[in-house]
């Protein structure tokens, strides 16, 4: 027996036998429940009852119907169809009369009247029940969406990595029915950084859970294995064992060495990243199967070097595969072309989202999650090469406490002819002093045999002082934070920690460059500036 409309089955199961109307009303009714009888939707009995005009005597009925047999076996003698607005919504099933007499014409009339009144009431009750079930279902779905969103947000980075000389930007826009997009930045040894963009097939809580698992495995394996292809191979093997049926994960994993611009990457079936370069837009192609489908997959590993001014765009398919009302796709060529037009990553993300909005039209619900991550190598350092840079001085000081005064005096002497106004010169001197102190103490560890190199150059627009120590292994400068003076005065923090803050507030621009052996801090003062409001 297959299924029957659920409302019909409910009636069959719950209706007690109707008792003869001649029974004394005061006597407690003896309720005997007929065993449920399943009626298949294609059983001819349904059509027969739908068209019946009143109570039907089961014994006399001639139909090739399994359900009819079932009713007879259950001891049903008379069936009164409950029909509301032409639709069969239930049956009143009656066994034999207790008097063992046949149902009379009066009984049948009474039952027919009863059915005529009961049917609309039962229908209303059914509708209310259906409505309540729908509300509960909607609430359950909404709750699931909230859970999915919560899981998703839990695993997205709270902040972007700060890399000296690089601009990192990211956008994550969940669809209402949250998809399985994710991205991540993973700190790796040697100041390298792992960059992840992925997309789990499916939506909602299952996708969010797979995303969380993938995220955790990546975080655990990336710092250990380093090579992107090995990381994806390992993640795939671990995921295959846990992946629910019909689900998989596409994932692009790249490792950036900020010092050199070297980017190694492997791709598990994710969208191909685009790179905006001086010579146009290029693609970072590498082959590999999505994660979680088959064990022992291998992933091609490729490498690119990002030059100053280059920007990489990693993107999920919520962007390129978005549709307009004419069902046309936003398309990968458009994403590539826009990548080539933007001046930097943040501008690129804004532009892509603006173009997408214009393409899909106003008020259109987003089809899928959209994730965009850009990694741009700043072009600023290339500028001095373009302009004629004139060296004003270059000298070394030994790494001994107090020698910053030597550096200050020599820089002041070197810039004497540039017309740096009094207060701005004082600012530069303070910045040079602090930067040299840092180089002596933190870069060279107060070891007198290690020199601090100081170079003063100008391109007639800017004055740049480069202070280099031998501490390339200490990486780029940390973020400059404003010291909390209240906490220091309350004795809750050390009174120290003013150096970087001072430097940043003294100069017009502060940059750092790091390589394997050297750490350079660049102090830039504009020469042809409007009078500085700060000076």
């Amino acid at each position: 027996m297959t299924t029957i409309p659920s409302n019909l089955r409910r009636v069959l199961r719950r209706e007690p036998r109707v008792r003869p109307t001649t029974e004394p009303v005061a006597a407690p009714p003896e309720r005997v429940e007929a065993p449920p009888v399943e009626i298949a939707p294609n059983d001819p009995l349904i059509a027969y009852f739908s068209g019946a005009t009143g109570a039907v005597d089961i014994g006399a009925l001639q139909l090739d119907s399994p359900a009819l047999e079932g009713l007879r076996e259950a001891g049903i003698k008379l069936v009164v169809p409950l029909v509301s607005q032409g639709e069969l919504i239930g049956l009143l099933n009656l066994g034999p009369r207790r008097s063992e007499q046949e149902y009379s014409a009066d009984d049948r009339k009474l039952l027919n009247d009863l059915a005529g009144h009961a049917a609309p009431a039962v229908r209303v009750a059914q509708l209310v029940r259906e409505q309540e079930a729908e509300v509960r279902q909607r609430e359950r779905i909404e709750q699931e969406l909230r859970v999915a969103q919560l899981i998703q947000q839990q695993f997205l980075p709270q902040e972007l990595p700060q890399l000296a000389g690089w601009q990192v930007a990211a956008y994550y826009g969940p669809a209402r029915e949250v998809g399985g997009d994710f991205y991540d930045f993973i700190k790796l040894p040697d100041d390298q950084i792992g960059i992840v963009v992925g997309d789990v097939t499916d939506k909602g809580v299952p996708a969010a859970l797979v995303m969380a698992t993938t995220h955790s495995i990546l975080r655990a394996e990336a710092p250990r294995l380093l090579a992107p292809s090995e990381v994806l191979t390992r993640v795939n093997n671990l995921l295959v064992e846990e992946m629910p049926a019909h689900m998989f994960v596409t994932c692009l994993y790249a490792v950036l060495d900020p010092a050199s611009g070297r980017l190694r990457y492997a791709n598990a079936g994710h969208n191909v990243p685009y790179v905006s370069t001086e010579g146009g837009v290029t693609e970072l192609r590498a082959t590999g199967m999505p994660l979680g489908l088959l064990p022992e997959m291998t992933y091609e590993e490729k490498e690119a070097t990002l030059a100053p001014g280059d920007t990489v765009l990693l993107h999920s398919d919520g962007l390129a595969e978005a549709h307009n009302p004419e069902r046309e796709m936003f398309g990968f060529p458009r994403v590539a072309s826009l990548t080539g037009e933007a001046s930097d990553g943040e501008v690129l993300i804004d532009r892509l989202l603006k173009e997408l909005q214009e393409f899909t039209g106003p008020g259109v619900e987003q089809e899928d999650d959209i994730t965009l991550v850009t990694i741009g190598r700043r072009a600023a350092r290339a500028a001095p090469k373009e302009k004629a840079e004139r060296q004003l001085a270059t000298f070394e000081v030994a790494s001994e406490p107090g020698n910053e005064r030597l550096a200050i005096d020599q820089v002041a002497e070197a810039v004497a002819g540039l017309g740096l106004a009094g207060q701005r010169l004082e600012r530069l001197k303070t910045a040079v002093g602090e930067a040299t102190m840092n180089a002596i103490e933190h870069g060279n560890g107060n070891r007198p045999e290690l020199p601090v190199e100081v170079t003063v150059v100008t391109d007639d627009t800017d004055l740049t002082v480069r202070i280099t120590d031998q501490g390339g292994d200490r990486g780029a400068l940390p973020d400059v934070e404003t010291p909390d003076l209240e906490a220091k005065l309350a004795g809750l923090q050390t009174p120290r920690g003013w150096g970087l803050f001072l430097i940043q507030n003294m100069v017009d621009r502060l940059e750092t460059a790091v390589n394997e052996h050297h750490h350079t801090i660049e102090l830039v003062m504009h020469l042809k500036e409007e009078p500085d409001a700060r000076s």
Binding site: T430, E434, L485, L502
Partner: protein
């Protein structure tokens, strides 16, 4: 390179401890500055005034020493005022917000009497 060595002299002016600072305020000034402060508060004045007129150089370590001194004075419920700062160090005291916690005055009389604020 040894710079102008730091030294500090303490005197009293109208029941206020005045510390005349000389030379460079850097790491090397630590002990002398503390000793000067101890001397200045020996008679438990409510106010200590720092004279920066003869100071040639203050680096970030020097700023930290002044913050430490100010923290101690606040713990002892003393007021610290300053005068004699040149324009550059006035700016640095403003950027570091030291001037929010230490009145900066044009000269000694104003600082001691605290009637004229600049």
């Amino acid at each position: 390179m040894p710079g102008a060595e730091f030294r500090a002299e303490v005197r009293e002016h109208a029941s206020t401890g005045v510390i005349d600072l000389h030379g460079e305020i850097n790491l090397g000034a630590d002990q002398a500055l503390l000793a000067a402060y101890d001397a200045a508060v020996r008679d438990d004045p409510r106010t200590v005034v720092l004279n920066f007129a003869q100071v040639e150089y203050i680096n970030s370590t020097g700023i930290a020493l002044i913050v430490g001194l100010l923290a101690r004075a606040r713990k002892e419920h003393r007021t610290v005022r300053a005068f004699g700062l040149n324009e550059h160090y006035r700016q640095i005291f403003a950027i570091t917000r030291l001037s929010d916690f230490m009145g900066i005055y044009a000269d000694e009389d104003s600082a001691v009497s605290a009637t004229v604020s600049t």
